[in-house]
């Protein structure tokens, strides 16, 4: 329907790259998921290649549309010290602390 996004030659994204990105994203993927994501990401990135052909020399990137006069509030504590409600959703706790598995082997 939208020719600009038609598929052409696949961008090479390898299984290994997908595994590397999954490690960065802290996602443990099943082999079948790696398979599917290798295909999907290749497919999606391929459709995005036309972006690379656009001349953007000297164009400033937009990280955010201008938020004019974004006011900063005073750096003062306004809320009372967190009580139990801050820990109410904790998957595991130890008194007033979040409990986690050991960090160092």
């Amino acid at each position: 329907m939208y020719r600009g996004l038609g598929y052409s030659t696949p961008v090479a994204i390898t299984r290994e790259e997908v595994e590397r990105v999954a490690a960065l994203a802290r996602l443990r993927l099943e082999p079948a998921e790696v398979e599917r994501l290798t295909a999907d990401l290749g497919h999606i990135l391929d459709a995005f290649t036309r972006l690379g052909q656009l001349d953007t020399t000297g164009v400033e990137p937009t990280a955010h549309v201008e938020v004019l006069d974004a006011p900063l509030r005073a750096d003062e504590v306004t809320n009372p010290p967190a009580g139990d409600e801050a820990l109410a959703n904790a998957p595991a706790r130890d008194g007033r602390r979040f409990r986690v598995p050991k960090i160092i082997e």
Partner: protein, 486 residues
């Protein structure tokens, strides 16, 4: 005489304020309606019956005591499950937050309550607002009230379906790439994505922070104006919320479109568009012209790059925003021997397929070696897309366009190919990239009786004009009065 759940939000609030009807009765009517039609639409993830009745009783007591309970006094509303509600489970449509109960209200929730509204429940959505059909909800897909085998649009599918199904008088949605406007169009209701910065995001679960915005879905433009007035304005807890004063939107709806210049972007009438959609939108444009607007052809030449730009920017931001779900402080945790393993397995178990896909795409686009080619490039093209709108809106007071190339598609129709699903957003995402307000009003139905929407895009912070255009159109037509055959 209309049943209570059929009343407009304004009329319902007026009756509560005049003590002709109690908020408790309105909430009971809403809960009864939810009970009656929920099996057909699956719009809610959580219904807060007892809490809603208690809040309603409180409004009734205050009204009886002569207190001014606000413009939404006692009216039942629904809130998308991306928005925090103190004491009411808030899941973002994800299993990773299945048992998450916020300890505080989002600013928009607090402002709705302050204006008198009663939250009856939390509305279904695509997981972390990532989707165009509501089929990415980890719980159940919401369904279109006009046809049960059709999607309601996403990601605020429950917000659109619940308003169309008359389960609540209005709702809140969030819109990162079209997530209010697509459900509004598909469900035949009014939806407004405000200007970036018009509404606070404090307490709203983040998807893509440079694009996310909260807005109302309602049964007509005036109701949407009342809702916007209630939630808009600066919030010291969100530095991206603008300090510009909030206009009295409702009082500025009259005035019509005579003398307004409305642009018709040529790139938005695309090959492959459903002919009935194009015909309905062109007819709506003709109506506006007849009402005195001057229609001018305009061009937004970078439109073809919007999908790629959006899906690189949004997923990059999402990959950063969703890093917080690590199983430590809240959310799902899977048992593990070591901390790193706990992160990896909790996230793998808690996130659904589309969320993983977007985290992966965003992480890839931000990773060493690809940052310039993808993320930086997308940010530069975003500038070009913004300039297109700046140019068009220099002489035009607003732009009028279709919302989507087709009416609501079938459940399952686009789930196999993520890219086909992404294309559903082609006519809405640029508005987020440019940070502009976008309103949807119903403007027709196709041969199958499915609703068609008209999108009105405005200048930054000029919601008043956008709403005025929508109100003028509504005044001349009756598409917004049609109800889903439930």
């Amino acid at each position: 005489m209309s049943a209570l759940h059929e009343l407009s939000l304004r009329e319902a609030a007026a009756r509560v304020r005049r003590r002709e009807v109690s908020s408790v009765d309105l909430v009971r009517a809403s809960l009864a309606r939810i009970q009656a039609v929920e099996a057909k639409v699956d719009a809610f993830l959580t219904v807060g019956g007892d809490a809603a009745l208690a809040a309603a009783a409180d409004v009734d007591r205050r009204v009886a005591a002569g207190e001014d309970c606000g413009p939404l006094a006692g009216v039942p509303v629904g809130v998308k499950d991306m928005i925090s509600t103190a004491g009411i489970r808030t899941t973002a449509g994800s299993k990773i937050l299945e048992h998450f109960v916020p300890s505080y209200d989002a600013t928009v929730t607090a402002r709705l309550k302050k204006a008198g509204a009663v939250v009856v429940g939390k509305l279904n959505c695509d997981e972390f607002a990532m989707g165009s059909s509501n089929e990415n909800s980890a719980y159940k897909p919401a369904r279109n009230p006009w046809a049960g085998d059709r999607v309601p649009g996403g990601s605020s599918g429950g917000s659109g379906a619940s308003v169309a199904a008359l389960q609540c008088h209005a709702s809140l949605g969030t819109d990162t790439g079209g997530s209010i406007r697509l459900p509004a169009a598909y469900c035949g209701v009014v939806g407004l994505k405000p200007t970036y910065g018009r509404v606070s995001r404090y307490g709203v679960i983040a998807y893509a922070s440079s694009l996310d915005q909260v807005g109302p879905l309602a049964r007509d433009v005036a109701d949407a104006a009342v809702m916007l007035e209630a939630i808009a304005g600066h919030d010291p807890r969100d530095s991206t919320s603008s300090p510009r004063p909030v206009p009295a939107y409702l009082s500025q709806l009259e005035g019509g479109v005579r003398g307004l210049r409305l642009g018709l972007p040529r790139e938005y009438f695309v090959e492959g568009m459903q002919p009935e959609v194009e015909a309905a939108v062109r007819e709506a444009v003709r109506v506006l012209e007849e009402l005195g607007a001057k229609i001018e052809p305009v061009s937004l030449p970078h439109t073809e790059h919007a999908i790629a730009t959006y899906y690189l920017v949004a997923t990059a931001e999402a990959s950063a925003n969703l890093a917080r779900y690590d199983g430590v402080r809240y959310g799902l945790r899977t048992p593990a021997k070591a901390l790193g393993e706990m992160y990896d397995t909790s996230r793998a178990a808690g996130f659904g397929a589309e969320v993983k896909r977007r985290i992966m795409l965003g992480t890839y686009a931000l990773s060493a070696g690809y940052y310039d080619a993808y993320y930086l490039k997308a940010q530069q093209v975003r500038t070009l897309i913004r300039r297109d709108f700046d140019e068009a809106l220099k002489h035009c007071h607003g732009l009028v366009t279709p919302v989507a190339p087709t009416t609501a598609f079938r459940l399952g129709e686009k789930t196999d190919d993520p890219l086909t699903m992404y294309l559903s957003d082609i006519l809405t995402i640029s508005v987020n990239l440019a940070g502009l307000p976008g309103l949807v009003v119903p403007c027709g139905v196709d041969r199958g009786g499915l609703p068609i929407g008209l999108q009105v895009i405005g200048r930054p912070f000029d919601e008043s004009t956008v709403l005025r255009i929508g109100a003028a159109y509504e005044g001349a037509t009756d598409w917004h009065r049609r109800r889903a055959p439930l």
